[in-house]
């Protein structure tokens, strides 16, 4: 099976202080750490597992700045065979739709049986790229995918719905699968593999190689700190003091 995996390098914001930059449209990124988007690392692992079963090639594609090449090298170290970076710096403002359109152009000469993406990225949370790309390519898609089993060019696919209910689909290939976290256990790249990947070529393409007629569907006007409603009463003091107060609160509620 020949596979394409779409990967994004994203800032890790869950535990960090996030501030708005001078433009008012972006966050201050210089003190944040970056990593492969969580759902994308599951999509990559799923591609590697499919390849291990049935052979074939994996192409990793990332629309990103030059630093995204580090993330692509991790993908190469884990098991991707080749990598393409689409120059973010060439294409101005993006949304999910334009991202899908650019990926479509970048992969147009590559033969594939399936494209895997993460179901969403943690930075701008679009949930859009996978299904939009599928529609542009005229092939079927499934999002929030929690299982893929392939036999005879047919895929049995599970989608995870609310409450953990599973939707079981039968799909033909080629198709696009937007993968949900937890579908597998992403491997770590070994040091030897990382060293080997450091020497591999990454194909870099920009506005000379591809063009896209795609217009933006949406334009970001401004970022702002989410308004807070009634916030928690914050208990202050040493761990011992806050623990004492917390235990008292729990007792007052009759739960001890």
């Amino acid at each position: 099976m020949d596979l394409i995996v779409c990967i994004k390098r994203v800032p890790q914001t869950a535990e960090a202080e996030v501030k708005i930059d001078g433009s008012g449209k972006d966050i201050v990124k210089d003190r944040l750490t970056f990593d492969m988007n969580e759902a994308d690392s599951y999509a990559l692992e799923e591609a590697i597992l499919l390849k291990e079963k049935s052979g074939g090639n994996i192409t990793a594609v990332s629309l990103g700045s030059a630093e995204a090449e580090d993330t692509l090298r991790i993908a190469l170290a884990k098991g991707a065979d080749s990598a393409i970076r689409i120059k973010l710096e060439d294409f101005g403002e993006l949304d999910g739709f334009k991202t899908a359109a650019l990926i479509r152009e970048a992969i147009k000469d590559i033969k594939f049986d399936a494209i895997l993406t993460g179901c969403m990225s943690t930075d701008d949370s679009y949930y859009q790229v996978g299904p939009t790309l599928a529609e542009m390519l005229g092939i079927p898609h499934a999002t929030l995918v929690s299982k893929i089993e392939v036999a005879d060019q047919k895929a049995h696919v599970h989608r995870e719905l609310e409450g953990g209910l599973i939707e079981h689909l039968e799909m033909s290939l080629p198709a696009v699968f937007a993968v949900q976290t937890g579908i597998n256990e992403p491997r770590y790249a070994s040091l030897i593999a990382i060293r080997r990947a450091a020497g591999k070529e990454i194909k870099v393409i920009g506005k000379e190689e591809i063009s896209s007629e795609a217009k933006l569907n949406s334009t970001l006007e401004e970022l702002f700190i989410p308004p807070v409603g009634e916030r928690a009463e914050i208990l202050t003091g040493t761990p011992d003091e806050v623990s004492k107060r917390t235990a008292e609160i729990i007792k007052e509620k009759g739960l001890i």
């Binding site: 999910g96 929030l144 209910l165 208990l235 235990a247």
Partner: protein, 324 residues
Amino acid sequence: MANILALVEHRQGTIRDITYELLTYGRKLAEKMDGKLTGVILGHNTGDFTESVKKHAHRVVVADHEVFKDFNAETYQHALADIIQKENPFLTLIGNTAFGIDLCPALATQLGVPFTTDCIGVEIADKKVRVTRQLYDGKMDAHVYLSEGPSYMLTLRSGTCAAEEGNLTADIQKIEASITSQPDYKKFVEYIEAAVGDVDITKADVLVGVGRGIKEQANMSMIEDFAKAIGGVVACSRPIVDANWLPKDRQVGSSGKTVKPKLYIAVGISGAFQHIAGMKNADTIIAINKDPNAPIFNEADYGIVEDLFKVVPALKNKIMEMKQ
């Protein structure tokens, strides 16, 4: 006229709650523009659905066919593309649910309609659509304009507005299904219920919810010990299940369980909306998180901004002392 369409979402014979939120929100937007709200039902044996929806919309368009009994984004896309072209609404609203996520981007792309997803607010002025979206793990909000188009499409996050009682009597328009069999390339096979384990977190009075802040599987025993001391049960956020540290039936949130304990202690959980959706109705919520800006503190009653590895053992001791 600026009319709005809202898609009725149903599963296993029941209309899903998000539907009434979409209808409430859609109706308010429509009325502001002197337009009408149309509820769209694609389903099978839709009599009861129509009865419920007609109080909430000015019009209801119903296509009743076996092919729409269970959700298949492909058949829904086909039928909705047809309906939207005929109805020519200003805006189509779909839930930002597992169903809407699968449907909206492909449908809007097919129609060439500007769209965006996971909106938590929509304003319409001078025929321009401005939405509010959340970025960066819920730590930023953004105002986003949709590009000018012949029509617009959005998915709306559940909880964006409270569903209100309906007092309308919609005109019902039955239409033929424009697709009558599932395409060979994408067929719905079945629903598979989530596995049930031996612990039912929905029945516990006290839940200790553990999140990615616990860092390593080896640290999970600390949480187990703490839960035992307080007479509670361990629940968790999604990453803990993804890592296989706890079974799926312990997961709290939109793709896990909805719980209503007397006390929910969130330990090392950031408070993503998908998690909040599952525990916001707990009587009392206490959050322990070292990040003062973690969204969980907007939901909790009491917050402790501190390293959980310091607080949890200390709190366990205090509780043990009190019990003596």
